[in-house]
Amino acid sequence: MNLFEEIREAVKGLYSLAVGMGVTGRYFVKPEVTVHYPRKTVDNIQTYSGHVELLQGKKNPLESDCIMCGTCERNCPSGCLTVKYEEIVEENPEPEKKKKKTKKMTGLIYDYSYCSLCGQCIENCPVDALGFSNHVYWAEFDRCNITLDLLARLREKLSKSS
């Protein structure tokens, strides 16, 4: 490589550098786009699905619509939902007929640490009792604390609002 070419290369390099610095300079005077997280929060995550939760019932606004069929449990890829209920056997006033059995829901245990937010439980729910919570900022230090009882959560929410 002769001297002339070397100078040409250097000039070319310097020119490309100047063009790049020009771009950087333009953006330097524009307002910043990053956010200092704990002090400020962003508002573009409102549509994030968040964890699964039981929705307020449509027929009975004080309870959930869940019929305890277990479809969500079976469809969940990672088995993070468990429906808990107790069977109440009532004596039927007419002695010939069968005893009347009713199910009473005692909880819907949800392990968020395994959930992949795929939405299979929500889509497959026959009564649309489940939905996403849009709750983004939920973090725990301990894995045990990341389990929720969705029924208790719903009741708490309803009692607060009423």
Binding site: E9, K12, G13, S16, L17, V19, G20, G22, V23, T24, Y27, V33, T34, N44, I45, T47, Y48, S49, N75, C76, P77, S116, L117, C118, G119, Q120, E123, N124, F132
Partner: protein
């Protein structure tokens, strides 16, 4: 020889035993090396500053997705696909969903097909932007990744609006997509296209024309077409070697035949050619999104006859889509039950990385970083 006594794990031992000339330095790059994008490890035998032999060691992120496929039902396996390749998750979604749809002969409504194209291309731009930023970061340029992530955020906001997540999507369904797109999304997507069109020339000024970058990329890692074929390289790696091959054109699927876009090809075979292919692909993806938005028909987003429980007939199927890194293939064998009999995931990075050993021979160590970056590796996809 002293190195043998010091010596490392199983793979290092194997590597040492294949050494023909003793006394050369063995170098472990990774698995925690920042330029390997995750947990890739490369054992390198150095002769001075030059690489005489290299062997990638993978498997640190192996999760056995293929076995999971055999124990989960077709529906339950869907969220796995977002985790195989976290950068272009929707293409993997599509490959799996497409394979099952092909096996069961499920018809997809046209509106859903267009939504798939729009979201998949948007995801492709996101993937290329991350690659672009990270590759330049490997080469020592810090600024570009900030620009890239700024743009990517815009696309992620849009995708989050309809899919509910920002990275590990699980959006496509057998026979359609989960949610319809609304006017807010459509106008947002148009704005994003406009934004990208103004940013791409800026990227060119800022980086592509930069002299320092060109010196790091040009004539580095030359991959002849014949070698790319022997290794089965696909995607931008192949197109950087002058072969015009894109699954969207070669094995047309969905509504891609109706859309007008070019396949960018560069003949230089080096890292810079692969770089240019990806940047040009972003431009093409913007074009595809704009066309698809203007052609978007009205109608359902889920096939009304889509079965709730998937039980395909006996048989096997191979379905391929074009991901950001190349040909994504899903081989699915069904025995007629509600779980797949065998599910094979063909990941493009796997083939693209396997040629690194041959490509790196005789190059400088610093160039190996450039070559690795230009292959655009996503380790979870390689290890599966």
């Amino acid at each position: 020889m002293t190195t043998q006594n010091l010596a490392g794990d199983f793979y290092t031992q194997c590597f040492l035993s294949e050494q023909d000339e003793s006394g050369r330095v063995i170098l472990n790059m990774g698995p925690q090396h920042p330029s390997t994008h995750g947990v890739l490890r490369v054992i390198i035998e150095m002769e001075g500053e030059y690489i005489s032999r290299a062997e990638p060691v993978i498997g640190y992120l192996h999760r056995m997705h293929e076995k999971m496929g055999e124990v989960k039902t077709y529906h339950q396996y869907m969220p796995n696909m977002g985790r195989v390749d976290y950068l272009h998750a929707l293409a993997w979604n599509w490959a799996y969903i497409g394979a099952v749809e092909k096996l069961c002969q499920i018809e997809v409504p046209r509106r859903a097909e267009f939504i798939r194209v729009i979201t998949c291309e948007m995801n492709r731009i996101c993937s290329h932007l991350v690659w672009w930023g990270a590759y330049l970061l490997d080469l020592g340029a810090f600024t570009p990744i900030m620009y890239a992530f700024d743009d990517r955020e815009q696309a992620l906001d849009l995708l989050q609006m309809i899919t509910g997540s920002r990275l590990t999507y699980c959006y496509y369904r057998f026979g359609g997509v989960r949610t319809d797109i609304d006017n807010q999304f459509i106008s947002g997507a148009r704005d994003f296209c406009k934004l990208m069109k103004s940013r791409l020339p800026m990227y060119k000024d800022l980086v592509t024309d930069n002299y320092i970058l060109r010196k790091r990329c040009e004539e580095i890692g030359e991959l002849p077409l014949e070698m790319a074929r022997r290794y089965g390289a696909t995607g931008p790696v192949l197109r950087g070697s002058g072969q015009k091959y894109d699954v969207r054109r070669a094995e047309p699927y969905s509504v891609y035949p109706e859309l007008d876009f070019d396949i960018p090809v560069f003949n230089e075979c080096d890292a810079m050619a692969r770089y240019r292919v990806r940047v040009a692909e972003m431009e093409q993806s913007v074009r595809i999104i704009e066309q698809a938005l203007s052609k978007l028909p009205k109608g359902d987003v889920m096939a009304p006859k889509a079965p709730k429980r998937i039980k395909p007939p006996k048989g096997d199927v191979y379905f391929a889509v074009e991901g950001a890194r190349g040909k994504i293939g899903v081989y699915l064998a069904s025995d007629g039950s509600s779980t797949p009999y065998r599910l094979k995931l063909r990941s493009p990075s796997y083939s693209n990385l396997s040629l690194f050993a041959e490509l790196a021979q005789g190059t400088l160590l610093a160039d190996a970083v450039s070559i690795l970056g230009s292959l655009d590796l996503v380790i979870p996809e390689i290890d599966r």
